[in-house]
């Protein structure tokens, strides 16, 4: 049963691997300290010392971009992890117990899908107040309905399988059946969704930081770099292009990876071991 790995999986995987490697590297090494101001060297053109030049305060752009990638990935990881875990649990509970549990969860899901996710995150972050942790909470929040819906749909399918009935016949309760049979068997669609939501979260973090609702100075962030560069568009347009490109590549990378994973974990192919 050999399946051709789709192109999107490879491109997405490569982009994500590259970005992760750069983020990890930046924890131990960047060409310069990204907080180091060198006003006389501001707006330096790309050179051997500063590969992508320096910004309006003379900071090394490559170092800034590298440090900012950590911020993007961390925010996405925490927000998708938190929102994904809560959403998955809610979806599993809705599927297992039905009735009013399901009714409440589904109303929440409806609410989540009533607004565009990004707009909703901006509304929430604005309501919570500008800080990175509030931005993370807002992004986590928009993930809850997404995962609740995916988990419930996938779980509903597994509940109809004979091995779950067999577990019920064995005397297992709903919570134990969910833990032993449902959750392990919905892991694939959850992971696929998480990868796709990673892309959304990176975009959302960039948007919130751009609006001043996310990362606060001096924390480096692609979104804030973009908004700072915006005022200097006529002076140094490349300062806006670099973080913009980073955002696009990161979003594209996770988006393609998620798509590719979805293709290879086609649920119609009975898979064997976890």
């Amino acid at each position: 049963m050999i399946r051709r790995a789709p192109v999107n999986l490879w491109i997405g995987g490569a982009l994500v691997a590259m970005m992760t490697a750069i983020a990890l590297l930046s924890l131990v090494w960047t060409p310069y300290d990204h907080t180091l101001l060198d006003i006389p060297a501001k707006f330096a053109a790309p050179s051997a010392e500063h590969w992508l030049g320096t910004d309006q305060l003379g900071r090394d752009v490559v170092s800034l971009l590298m440090a900012a990638s950590v911020n993007s990935l961390t925010v996405a990881f925490v927000a998708v992890g938190l929102g994904g875990a809560i959403g998955t649990l809610l979806g599993l509970a809705a599927s297992a117990w039905g009735g009013w549990v399901e009714a409440i969860v589904m109303r929440l899901v409806d609410l989540g899908f009533a607004f565009p996710a990004l707009l909703f995150a901006i509304m929430l972050a604005a309501a919570f107040g500008p800080s990175l942790s509030n931005a993370i909470l807002a992004i986590a929040f928009i993930n809850i309905p997404v995962f609740a819906r995916v988990a419930r749909g996938a779980a509903n399918q597994i509940w109809t399988r004979d091995f779950v009935l067999a577990g019920q016949a064995a005397g297992m309760g709903r919570a134990a059946l969910t833990r032993d049979h449902i959750l392990p068997n919905i892991a694939a669609p959850i992971i696929v969704q998480a990868t796709i939501e990673f892309a959304v979260a990176i975009l959302a973090e960039a948007a919130l930081s751009y609006l001043g609702l996310g990362a606060q100075p001096p924390m480096p962030s692609w979104g804030r770099m973009l908004s700072e560069a915006q005022t200097l568009m006529y002076l140094a347009p490349e300062l806006a292009i670099y973080p913009g490109l980073c955002i696009i590549l990161a979003v594209l990378g996770f988006g393609l990876l998620g798509d590719g994973l979805r293709d290879v974990t086609d649920p119609r192919l009975a898979r064997t071991r976890a």
Partner: protein, 270 residues
């Protein structure tokens, strides 16, 4: 002494999807006023064509769903009136073997895990020796417990499913088309295994099948269903030798003309 299993006038309806806006269709009556009593050590065959309500009856007996009318008494207790936690304890005494031997085992778990499940459900930690013994009892080897469902043939998987069903030494075994997906030669082996276990434990069996040939020399009693209704019911020998309805005759003929080497194609697992 009350019967082990006493099904009293059970009816199960399923709502049909609405076709027109202001018209609520009559519900589908999957099982209509069915009754039977089954004692320890006996086998009751439930036969009928596809859609006749056989699986519905099995699901009611297993407590997977509740009847709209009527009662299912197990050891004198109304199964569907028991509180959840009591019902879960009682489940040790009635077990089921499913039709699709692949679908009834979680593909992500070693089969020994699945066989130990009924013990774990009541908080016992299944001893490896007990799992091994049960595997050997159904004709498998103790080392098979470590392996995964996809490593076994259909017949072996059904043995594993039977091992899971008997590990708690139940008093009632519900077998819903338990051999239909198997080759004829394997089918005989599995039927023999079930009969041996019945002798050994005094198991009562509710044996569901669309194929009268399978049950002919297995059952003490027969219930013949059609569209949820009881068509004929009574001692198996009497019905098989002297069917009272054309429908039963038709089922009998269908069983006879089926060549011995022919079997239903194994269901592809999804």
């Amino acid at each position: 002494m009350s019967a082990l299993l006493d099904i009293q006038n059970v009816t199960r309806r399923y709502p049909r999807p609405r076709q027109r806006l202001l018209h609520r269709p009559e519900p589908l009556v999957a099982l209509d006023n069915a009754s039977l009593t089954l004692n320890a050590g006996e086998t009751y065959g439930i036969v009928g064509e596809s859609g006749s309500g056989k699986t519905t009856l099995a699901r009611l007996v297993m407590g997977f769903e509740a009847p709209d009318n009527g009662r299912v008494l197990l050891g004198g207790e109304d199964l569907h009136a028991l509180p959840e936690h009591i019902l879960r304890q009682r489940r040790q005494t009635f077990q089921m073997v499913f039709q699709d031997p692949f679908g009834s085992l979680d593909p992500r778990r070693p089969v020994g895990w699945s066989v130990g499940q009924p013990l774990r459900a009541t908080g016992q930690q299944p001893a490896p020796a007990q799992i091994a013994q049960t595997f050997e009892r159904v004709g498998l080897s103790a080392s098979d417990a470590e392996r995964y469902p996809h490593e076994f043939s259909g017949g072996q998987r059904q043995r594993i499913a039977i091992a899971r069903a008997i590990i708690t030494k139940p008093r009632l075994l519900v077998a819903d088309e338990a051999v239909s997906a198997l080759d004829v030669s394997v089918r005989a082996q599995i039927l023999n295994l079930l009969l041996d276990l019945q002798d050994e434990f005094g198991l009562a069996m509710l044996f569901v099948t669309h194929d009268l040939a399978v049950v002919a020399n297995l059952c003490d009693h027969l219930l013949v269903l059609r569209n949820g209704r009881t068509v004929e019911q009574g001692p198996a020998q009497a019905i098989l030798t002297n069917p009272q309805t054309d429908y039963t005759t038709m089922l009998l003929d269908a069983a006879r003309v089926t060549p011995a080497g022919h079997s239903a194609p194994a269901r592809t697992t999804t």
